[in-house]
């Protein structure tokens, strides 16, 4: 395991979270959490409902600003940046509750996911023929690769909102992948899926990691999945990080067992 105090260039963390807190009124959703995610790893965040997992992810993607602490992405403080600026730096995510552009086709959802990689401005778009068209064709190619990869070829012209739940989750993964992210944040990508769909999704997550070396942070409730695919796991409970380590270390940690006792998981 690389030393997490080194910068990314030295094989240090892609993402590091340093003493980050977030309060909502009286609720301390995240309480001085520190952790670091190494380049190329699959890092899972687990914890009971309301533990603060989504809130932590929301701070990394700029949706909330941390009340305390710093968030560093490739050695750069992103804690104050806006979501669109963070996306431009190479962080993409999916949502716990699917947030697709429902009226648009699968292909258009992916092209939108690639927005930050395209350049055409207002005038190029209005004229289209020329630079905008060349760009559309170039990036369409990359989106089609992702569509093939996720086995969505037959559905590329189907409106995303018309798809079954499991497929929508897959399209959302596709939209996030379309930006060729350095860091991919997945908020419960397998929630609500049947066993077969879960297995497919696990396969895709592993393939993304293996094929493109994307660093992945994943929130997941299914312990079997988490233990199978993660390189490391952090455990949150009531906003605090109570454990971190390899799946085996975490599983054996008395504090983790304590936190999960009496909960439904």
């Amino acid at each position: 395991m690389p030393d997490s105090t080194l910068g990314e260039a030295d094989g240090g963390p892609t993402l590091s979270v340093e003493g980050v807190s977030k309060n909502f009124g009286g609720v301390r959703a995240v309480a001085s959490v520190s952790t670091a995610v190494t380049k190329g790893e699959i890092f899972a965040i687990i914890g009971p409902n309301g533990a603060g997992k989504t809130t932590l992810l929301n701070m990394v993607s700029g949706f909330y600003k941390p009340d305390e602490g710093a968030i560093l992405f490739r050695d750069r403080d992103i804690g104050r940046l806006k979501p669109n600026e963070i996306a431009e730096l190479g962080i993409a995510r999916t949502f716990q509750n699917i947030a697709l552009f429902r009226g648009l086709t699968v292909l258009d959802n992916l092209m939108l996911g690639r927005h930050v990689r395209l350049k055409s401005g207002v005038f190029a778009s209005l004229l289209y023929w020329g630079p905008a068209q060349r760009e559309e064709i170039l990036h369409r190619r990359r989106c089609e690769e992702i569509i093939d990869f996720l086995k969505l070829s037959d559905l590329r012209k189907t409106p995303a909102g018309a798809l079954a739940y499991g497929l929508q989750k897959r399209v959302e993964l596709g939209r996030a992948l379309a930006s060729d992210p350095t860091l991919l944040l997945l908020d419960e990508p397998m929630a609500g899926m049947n066993q077969e769909e879960k297995e497919d999704m696990v396969r895709y997550v592993l393939d993304v990691s293996a094929e493109w070396g994307t660093t992945i942070v994943l929130i997941e409730h299914d312990m079997g999945v988490v233990m199978d695919i993660s390189d490391r796991v952090a455990v949150l409970d009531m906003g605090e990080k109570i454990a971190e380590g390899t799946p085996d270390q975490v599983r054996a940690d008395p504090k983790v067992i304590q936190a999960y006792l009496g909960t439904a998981h």
């Binding site: 669109n84 995510r93 947030a99 258009d108 939108l112 996911g113 778009s125 190619r141 930006s179």
Partner: protein, 355 residues
């Protein structure tokens, strides 16, 4: 038009992304073009040509409002005011500096776009009804400013007479000439809008309309793109205002009152929100509606109403029908005339099989 895709396979992305990927689709468009460019001007009398002129202008304005409301999801009740900004900007440039149309038209658009961006600034913070009120305020403020600034409005009557546009040394004096002149702008506006909505900026507009949080997360600068939408939309409005000024040979603020803003809202709602073809349908429909009502009332009104009040009834009838239609489309067919058209087309596409 009416055709099926089967038997055609697209082998390039470019082919797949074309407006009309199928030859039969291109032929249909060519046919429509032929009818509008050759047949109609040759055989229609000037009265009907003048209606087509009005429709052409309305198409430009409606496309502009649809970009904002239908594609980006930002409401504006001040569209007519942006038209007036274009109209007076161009009227001043034409009369004081003798500018030709190819400078005056874009200038009117640019000035309207600038004002539109100013009005759009609150859209970062406010949505829906509140934005509607803000743009309504803009409508009245712009009206008032134009009316009370002689330097803009040209004095007492708040109107400026302008000469007809001159193209290649030829003044567009006849209805046919005006028709070609205005139709050219409508075609440019249609093509530009179709281009916009199939590429990066237009897609970002739709993303903001459908899911503004997700739009931000995938890297769209929502505020900047809302302002783009206001700018483009007002640019179209400004151009439509200049065209209308050329058509009437006068810039007059009474042509751009709040009721005109409502007309344009009706066009995009009845025609089809977020649809280029719907904007065209809406422009045709709303332009023809009062004319059809008048013809109807002239022919049959006397059977139902006292001739003394007939004129009044006709005017009120238009408003009532208007309101009823907007309500009908909002409730029954939110996708407007465009959806009706698609339903008809799909019916024939699979005919005679019902599935």
């Amino acid at each position: 038009m009416f055709h099926r895709e089967s038997g055609y396979y697209k082998t390039t992305y470019k082919g797949d992304m074309a407006f009309y990927p199928l030859p039969v689709g291109r032929w249909s468009v060519a046919l429509v073009g032929f009818i509008f460019l050759v047949v109609i001007p040759l055989f229609l009398d000037p009265y009907y040509l003048s209606i087509l002129c009005l429709i052409s202008i309305a198409v430009v304005g409606a496309l502009g409002l649809n970009i904002l409301l239908g594609y980006t999801g930002q409401i504006s009740i001040g569209h007519a005011a942006f038209m007036s900004v274009g109209a007076y900007t161009a009227a001043n440039l034409i009369t004081k500096l003798d500018w030709p149309f190819w400078l005056a038209v874009p200038s009117g658009g640019i000035m309207a776009a600038a004002v539109g961006v100013l009005v759009g600034i609150p859209s970062l913070r406010i949505k829906g009804l509140y934005l509607a009120i803000a743009t309504l305020a803009a409508q009245f403020i712009i009206e008032w400013v134009i009316n009370h600034t002689p330097a803009i409005s040209g004095g007492v009557q708040a109107s400026i007479e302008v000469p007809r546009p001159v193209v290649f040394g030829e003044a567009m004096n006849t209805e046919i000439e005006l028709y070609y002149f205005l139709m050219a702008f409508a075609v440019i506006a249609i093509v530009a809008t179709m281009n916009l909505v199939r590429s990066r900026v237009g897609r970002a507009f739709i993303a903001i309309r459908d899911q503004d949080i997700a739009a931000e997360i995938i890297g769209i600068n929502v505020f900047r793109y809302k302002l783009y939408a206001f700018a483009i939309s007002s640019f179209y409005a400004g151009v439509a205002g200049v065209l209308y000024t050329y058509y009437l040979s006068i810039a007059n603020y009474e042509q751009f009152l709040i009721v005109v803003s409502i007309d344009y809202l009706a066009m995009v709602i009845i025609g089809g929100l977020g649809s280029v073809l719907g904007s065209v349908f809406g422009a045709i429909f709303i332009t023809l509606l009062p004319i059809v009502i008048r013809i109807f009332m002239d022919s049959f009104g006397a059977f139902f109403f006292d001739p003394v009040i007939l004129a009044q009834v006709t005017a009120q009838f238009r408003l009532i029908l208007f309101g009823a239609l907007i309500m009908f489309f909002l409730v029954v067919e939110p996708e407007g005339l465009n959806r009706l058209w698609l339903n008809i087309r799909n019916y024939f596409r699979i005919w005679p099989f019902s599935y």
